[in-house]
């Protein structure tokens, strides 16, 4: 590593730097959130009435259900995927490794379009879906598929990072002590990857709740059917139902804040 250069600004310079950082964070994050909270607070009754509207409640519920499914499916897939990616050697591993980050890199709207080509009218998988009488486009399964896609990398990446660091010697030790593979996984591996798994699944839920582009393209934001919290806000703004939009947005912001608290309460690395 190159020599570490410590810059120790003095007096005024130091205060200036701190002030710039605080001001920047305030302008970019705090002010918009404050505007949201203030607006809702100023018109609390109307906002409450609006979000108790069945369409709004349904949208919130739908977002929650999709997030829980993403948490469960990508939680399990993330652990299994990370174990395979870190522990197994196979042809094409590097390509797979790179591919896993794809959902982070591409625009969700493009993701939605790709699924449209698969599931939409004349799509590649259409004959299979028709035979199974399964509706994906503009239906609940479409929302799930899109959300699974965009949240795939989080758990795999976080768990793989931890697995890479801890190695296999503790599992070897468990085997020599008479543990079955399942016992070794449950008693040794799982507790060791717990923090990575918690971080990965928290990010998964946050991302699932916030997803907009992909679920809009695939789900079509049909009120009472495929309208999630985010697409509901979009529609509400279009229809000039500002109070409703603010209310739902505030609930999403509160959920995000709760997830942040979970993340902050995690013990720091090195424990």
């Amino acid at each position: 590593m190159s020599e570490k250069v410590l810059i120790r600004p003095h007096g005024g310079a130091r205060w200036a730097i701190v002030a710039v950082v605080v001001a920047y964070v305030t302008v970019v994050i705090v002010v918009p959130l404050f505007a949201l909270v203030a607006t809702v607070a100023g018109d609390l009754r109307r906002v409450l009435e609006e979000i108790l509207d069945p369409g709004a409640l349904h949208a919130l519920m739908l977002s929650a259900v999709v997030a829980v499914i993403a948490l469960a499916v990508n939680g399990v897939a993330g652990v299994v995927g990370a174990l395979v990616l870190v522990r197994q050697r196979f042809w094409g591993k590097r390509a797979l490794d790179a591919l896993i980050d794809m959902p982070l890199a591409v625009s969700p709207v493009m993701t939605g379009l790709a699924f449209l080509l698969l599931f939409g009218r004349g799509g590649w998988l259409r004959p299979v879906l028709d035979a199974a009488k399964l509706e994906v486009m503009f239906a609940f399964p479409g929302l799930v598929v899109a959300t699974l896609f965009v949240t795939l990398p989080f758990t795999i990446r976080e768990v793989a990072l931890v697995l890479d660091e801890i190695g296999t010697s503790e599992e070897d030790a468990a085997a020599t002590l008479g543990a079955t593979s399942w016992q070794a996984f449950r008693l040794v591996t799982l507790p060791n990857i717990r923090h990575g798994l918690e971080l990965g699944t928290t990010l998964t839920v946050a991302r699932a709740l916030g997803e907009f582009g992909a679920v809009l393209v695939i789900g079509g934001a049909i009120s009472g059917k495929t309208q999630t919290a985010t697409t509901f806000i979009h529609t509400a703004i279009d229809e000039r139902r500002d109070a409703t939009a603010y209310g739902i947005a505030l609930i999403l912001a509160a959920a995000a804040a709760a997830l942040l608290v979970v993340l902050q309460r995690r013990p720091r690395k090195g424990t």
Binding site: E170, D172, A173, T176, L177, G178, A179
Partner: protein, 352 residues
């Protein structure tokens, strides 16, 4: 439980890690696998435990062939190089792990843990986490954990490599005592010959995936069978020498030398002109002050109870010897003085 390994071979990719290694270990023996790092010692241990599989060859434990059986069915206690303690479990849970996964009643577990803690001298530490222990303490927990399910075989991979010199000394003595008490067949891997000789009944010298020699510490020191063993064990001078008149010549020096493993009297010396590699232990040399001698002293280094003298022979070959601190041979030997050199014992191997 006795161990028999037959024709073990293993490659990682194009690198051959083990090449046709065979050996037998009697029940109750304490054996060291000695050799330089990367020579395949740890791989042998892992294959015996079933943590790695050999590409070819057989492993027999107590008269049964075990290739293909899972590690947990082999009842092998394994002490890992960097302890591999379960980091999220207390000392108590680490030691009880083997009994617990095999479904032993809690009362039995507790009794066994208490007994083992006493045996390794860690009473009172059962509620600590591994991260709260010193290196030597972790090593003892690793040993107690391996011993808890009463294994028939104890395998130790560089067990004292990661602790400091003083603790290492203590753990060595402790391992030897433990073995003398319980007689569980044990193999430990080390690259430290002093450790191998101090602790084991028998030493297997492993180099580049091959078994160079198996024998008691004394046999290994006194009758090395290969050039590698001769030059790996102890501190040695290695010279390129030429045979002339039944003697090996290094510049102005000459010594009687016989080829290889058998003692000098059993073998004819190699013919004139044969080039040999001459291996001379640092204590098989005499130096004394002599202005008409054949070497010049470069450095005199005091190493506690011994003194190491480094010199250069006329003609340029470096040579060194070690003497007891108060040896009369050291009289008048200082940097720059001329000395006479005599080789009292040497072994020669023809150059490939």
């Amino acid at each position: 439980m006795g161990i028999r390994a037959r024709n073990l071979s293993k490659s990682f990719g194009s690198a051959k890690v083990l090449d046709d290694v065979s050996f037998e270990i009697e029940p109750g023996e304490l054996v060291a696998l000695l050799g330089p790092s990367g020579g395949g010692k740890s791989t042998i241990l892992r294959i015996i435990a079933g943590l790695d599989t050999a590409d070819a060859g057989e492993v027999w434990l107590g008269g049964a062939r075990v290739d293909g059986s899972h590690t947990r069915e082999r009842h092998v206690g394994f002490v890992f190089q960097h302890y591999a303690l379960f980091r999220h479990m207390t000392v108590r849970d680490n030691i009880a792990f083997g009994l617990s996964v095999q479904g032993a009643p809690l009362e039995h577990q507790n009794r066994r843990v208490a007994h083992l803690l006493e045996l390794v001298g860690l009473e009172g530490l059962q509620d600590r986490m591994p991260s709260q222990l010193s290196g030597g303490q972790r090593q003892r927990v690793a040993l107690a954990r391996a011993l808890a399910p009463e294994p028939k075989l104890l395998l130790l991979d560089e067990p004292f490599g990661a602790v400091d010199a003083k603790v290492r000394e203590e753990l060595r003595r402790w391992l030897r005592r433990l073995h003398d008490e319980f007689h569980v067949t044990s193999i430990f891997v080390t690259h430290d010959q002093e450790e191998a000789f101090a602790v084991s009944d028998r030493v297997l010298v492993i180099n580049k995936g091959r078994l160079e020699q198996a024998g008691s510490p004394l046999e290994i020191v006194e009758h090395p069978e290969t050039e590698f063993v001769a030059s790996f064990v102890g501190e040695v001078n290695v010279f390129d020498a030429a045979m002339r008149g039944g003697k090996a010549w290094v510049g102005p020096l000459s010594t009687k030398a016989a080829i290889g493993p058998l003692s000098e009297k059993d073998r004819e010396p190699p013919g004139d002109g044969t080039r040999v590699r001459l291996v001379v232990r640092s204590y098989d040399l005499k130096f004394w002050r002599d202005d008409s001698g054949t070497a010049v002293v470069k450095r005199v280094i005091t190493l506690g109870d011994r003194v190491r003298v480094e010199a250069v022979l006329d003609g340029g070959s470096p040579i060194f010897a070690q003497f007891p601190r108060r040896s009369s041979l050291l009289t008048g030997i200082d940097a720059g003085s001329r000395i006479a050199v005599e080789i009292t014992h040497a072994r020669a191997w023809p150059m490939a």
